[in-house]
Symmetry: C2
Subunit: 175 residues, 2 copies
DNA sequence: GTCTATAGTCCGATAGAC
DNA sequence: GTCTATCGGACTATAGAC
């Protein structure tokens, strides 16, 4: 993973071959593909951990709490996990933003996060389309907040940015 | 485009080669790649048209209309464009839902739609992060409404489903 | 670890429309 | 004369089969 991020940063995603990543990591190309399904996946390894945090937060929330509040709290918790990895997250974000192929994979991971959150809400009794829309809103706040955190040089906690994004949506919905 | 959709429906996306698509359309493989950047793009050709509809609707809205209302109206208009193509849209949705590679591309197109809407809102003076969040909410309503339309056999207008999704989010935001 | 199919790029040639 | 469409061959890297 480190070898890949370094190479993608140095030469760009398209300018890097899987053989080069494998060589820098000291393994063969076949071994690379045994660990990661494709050339992109190497940058998305920890994403299922975030999903567990979000789903867990939704499941553990008080029974009759408002769905949007539950999800907003969950995504803020999830964001806080990234606070410790700010350097890796920042370098990774630069590469992803520069590469459409990586953006696609990132969006698929966010969609998986959103589906998991919507499922957890439905299990709490939230009906459709409310469950899907609340999940979308939460993941959107996470994404927008994360981007602002990266863009502003990470001087404020990422969870603050995320909460600011969800507050902005609530305000607009009330107009 | 017809050749590709037919083949993807018959044999699946992975079971179809670009050479086969080209052959069925009566051109060479090289010609296929001059029209479409890759194997996926052939199913996403009209998407920039939807973007124009949405951005146009946002630009033409009354000056001090509420941003979320403007975007909701815009995505409902955009959805209505698909009403005429319900058969193509339905067949296409089946293939996309079955194929992660195509889902990724679909998500990228939705992200492009979202960025275009956020940009149009900023030009109207909406600040961040409100502009991004309102754009996310609108595109989410479009996606959720479209899926419900496909899932229910298209017996009600797609724009109805989209409006129902945005109404559900407003309701949740008020709790 | 070996072998192979296929997606996708780069080079260039040709030909009709206006 | 320029624009745009088709086509061909050779090539490389990704990714899957075994």
């Amino acid at each position: 993973m480190r070898a890949a991020l370094d190479l993608y940063s140095e030469r760009g995603f398209d300018g890097t071959t899987t053989a080069e990543i494998a060589a820098r990591a000291g393994v063969t190309e076949r071994t690379y593909f045994r660990h990661f399904a494709d050339k992109r996946e190497v940058l998305f390894d920890g994403s299922h951990l975030l999903e567990e945090v979000l789903v867990g937060a939704i499941e553990d929330a008080p029974e009759n709490a408002a769905p949007l509040g539950v999800v907003d709290a969950g995504v803020a918790t999830m964001a806080a996990v990234l606070e410790d990895r700010r350097e890796f997250a920042g370098r990774r974000a630069v590469v992803v933003d520069a590469t459409p192929h990586l953006q696609e994979r990132e969006l698929l991971k966010l969609a998986s996060l959103r589906d998991a959150a919507a499922g957890a809400l439905r299990r709490r009794g939230v009906a459709e389309p409310a469950a899907s829309m609340v999940a979308e809103a939460g993941v959107a706040a996470f994404r927008v907040g994360f981007e602002a955190w990266i863009a502003t040089g990470q001087d404020r906690p990422v969870a603050d940015h995320v909460r600011e994004a969800s507050a902005a949506l609530r305000e607009q919905a009330a107009r």
